[in-house]
Symmetry: C2
Subunit: 435 residues, 2 copies
């Protein structure tokens, strides 16, 4: 079970100007019932479907079978998708696959495919990738609920040219579509050509979709234990079901960060991961938090950092710059690499303090030291700890922050499930391209 | 030559509340002479050595020869370094090497080595890497001016165990050290064992060191044209020599962003790169800007974004969240991939607006559209355009932002070359490890 430590967000630790006071807590507690009822309404209407989807019996239906076939038959899985269609999978694959996955030999991957998540339309990297892989041995998974996403459509059109030229009619076998069950631009293609497809529930928003076929199917293709991912999420959903800030960690986080933004002048929320494997969970969180809550002139900006790397880049600012941030350390209790593999025993005098330590214990010490130093400077910070990084705990993490975000949305009194602010850019893009 | 467009930071474009007014400009112009004189003093004292180092005849001395030897003899270059010892090289190698460099075959790399920049001590990824590479065929480049950086020392100690076990005394040949010419913990080892080494000028700070052996030697090892990198920087240094905001783009940027932070309530500076290859230049900038200017309770937080990816993650917040940000679009006029490679010609009706376009032209259209949409919402933004991505233009970019940062430091009236705020964390780390 993830452990969550709020000590250093409290006024007792960082002072009344920068921390949550008893009065802050009382105000937040007084609003909890109403916010909880709002969440219940969103669940009833299907807007907060993320909560309940993990309980659906058919959630994984057909996924393990098709994933096993893809894994057996193909050397590469290339996912075409952007935003919510990419970030959850990127986070999960970085967290749960061994490091340097795509650079490993097939044997070291236990025969499982390499994974490329294409969430940009940069021509240099996209055509670089197509030149690199054996397209015949590649399963392309196209993810877009509406099928109208410009970037994904453009990628697909480029890929289809290659597939058709190489494989003729057989290209159908190299494609899996994940889209709306009925509507949109991709579903007719699925029907007409009899393509393999999985459905995204129509009410489920992209940034809340990692625990649907969007994230689960490609994750399963590379051998991630998607059942445990869902089990972890389900455990956290149950932990996050009570209408109490004390016992519901999702509500607790949502309320605290709402308060920091609106009452403590912390317009930034820094997620500081002390693990390379968890780096992209911060990118996933950044979309969730920004796109859900950044509206009506309000919202807190998520900032991604990784330790210890960013101690040598951002910590000067975090320590001595303006007091405009609240921090979340995301750490790991036990790394998957045995300590012996990186143990230091024979350090010269200047580094004698490293003797007996391994890279993992040094990393953890630096995390604790940075948290303490920030606390000493009155910078509020909380810590989420993975006992170890595995599918179960990552599932917990995803659900924890989905609940926190929805709850914060209720406190902000905005709709956390829409994104009206991106329409103007889409309209202008079309105008420019049509000229 | 980089082109720089300030139109959308002006009050005429985004309104007087959010843009630079005539009065703002007059205030900044009135402070330019004094700030310029401060920069001249920093140049004279050696603090602003970054400016002048690119004119030194011996800057590249010995680098091409040793780099050619490394490139010929080794399959991998692994750099151990963190912060300023890593970020410039990461930015340069991502920008200037073909995409997916480490995944390419040796032939497609024209025989040049793969490059791994290890700027964290995560035990899973670090020992994953050591398990992946043939250590005998790897050149380890260790970069630390003081030689006292905990992370780099820990990495080196782990690597030395492997090297000694595998190669005995011959391990010396697999190591290159980049450090202070006289002082520090690494120089004695260089002398005692006769290791190959390059010097970091003692006055040159890490975050200003990309155009010294720190960035140039490993870049040369993988075949980057380091001479053109320096030429580009030199050209920009000359463009940035005049004491006038109008004609000196470095001063112009420094002054504008200082004003946004201190007078326009924009405590965030978002660098929004519309190119995968330029993504890490934003990380390099983020260290430069944060660590130089984040002190005495002041400083603007750098935020990294990449287009079009982050349109589907952060743009909702950028458009409709608080007006607390100023943006820099970094775009590319001509991509290195021929347009034909990703041209779309046969799009179905829903995507007919894509016909005739290629991924590069779509990417550029989205950049322009996003800039216009932000402008329409009163969000100030400027644009830096690379005619194409190459060593010369990247050298210009590095120098442009080094000058902008130093100039902003003069306006903030702080010392942009120190970083006192990281000491407490270092002290606490040692205490924890020594317990």
């Amino acid at each position: 079970m993830l452990s969550i430590d709020f000590t250093n967000v409290l006024a007792d630790a960082v002072g009344a100007d920068n921390g949550i006071t008893k009065e802050d807590a009382a105000t937040l507690i007084s609003r909890t019932t109403a916010a909880h009822e709002q969440l219940e309404k969103w669940r009833a209407s299907g807007d907060a479907l993320f909560y309940d989807i993990v309980d659906e019996d058919c959630l994984l239906s057909g996924i393990p079978e098709k994933a096993a076939e893809v894994s057996e038959r193909f050397d590469n899985v290339v996912v075409l998708g952007i935003g919510g269609s990419a970030l959850g999978l990127r986070a999960a694959s970085q967290a749960l696959l061994p490091s340097h996955w795509n650079l490993r030999t097939k044997e070291s991957r236990e025969g499982r495919p390499r994974l490329f998540v294409c969430d940009n339309i940069d021509p240099e990297s996209f055509s670089g990738l197509l030149g690199l892989i054996d397209i015949e041995k590649t399963c392309f998974t196209i993810i877009s609920k509406s099928g109208r996403t410009t970037e994904t459509a453009a990628q697909l059109l480029v890929v289809l040219d290659h597939l058709k030229a190489l494989l003729g009619e057989n290209w159908h076998e190299n494609v899996v579509i994940i889209t709306d069950p009925e509507a949109g631009e991709l579903r007719p293609m699925v029907r007409e050509l009899g393509l393999t497809a999985f459905s995204i529930p129509p009410k489920l928003g992209g940034r809340f979709s990692v625990l649907s076929p969007v994230g689960l199917f490609p994750a399963a293709c590379v051998g991630i234990d998607v059942e445990e991912l869902v089990n972890g999420a389900r455990a956290m959903a149950s932990r996050c079901s009570e209408p109490s800030l004390e016992t519901n960690p999702g509500y607790h986080i949502g309320a605290a960060f709402y308060q920091f933004d609106t009452a403590k002048r912390k317009n930034m929320s820094v997620m500081f991961s002390y693990s390379d494997a968890l780096m992209l969970t911060a990118d996933w969180y950044a979309q969730l938090w920004a796109e859900s809550l950044g509206k009506s002139g309000r919202g807190q900006t998520p900032v991604r950092a990784v330790g210890t790397t960013d101690q040598h880049s951002q910590v000067q600012l975090y320590m001595e710059g303006p007091a405009d941030k609240v921090f979340t350390f995301v750490g790991v209790e036990k790394f998957r690499t045995p300590a012996e593999a990186t143990r230091i025993s024979d350090a010269p005098k200047a580094f004698s303090y490293l003797n007996g330590h391994d890279l993992g214990s040094i990393l953890r010490a630096e995390q604790v030291a940075t948290s303490r130093a920030l606390t000493e400077m009155g910078r509020p910070n909380m810590t989420v700890t993975f006992p170890q990084i595995d599918a179960h705990h990552l599932g917990e993490f995803f659900m924890l922050y989905e609940v926190a975000t929805a709850f914060a949305g209720a406190l902000y009194e905005i709709d956390p499930f829409n994104q009206p602010g991106v329409e103007l850019g889409k309209k202008l893009t079309r105008e420019i391209l049509q000229r």
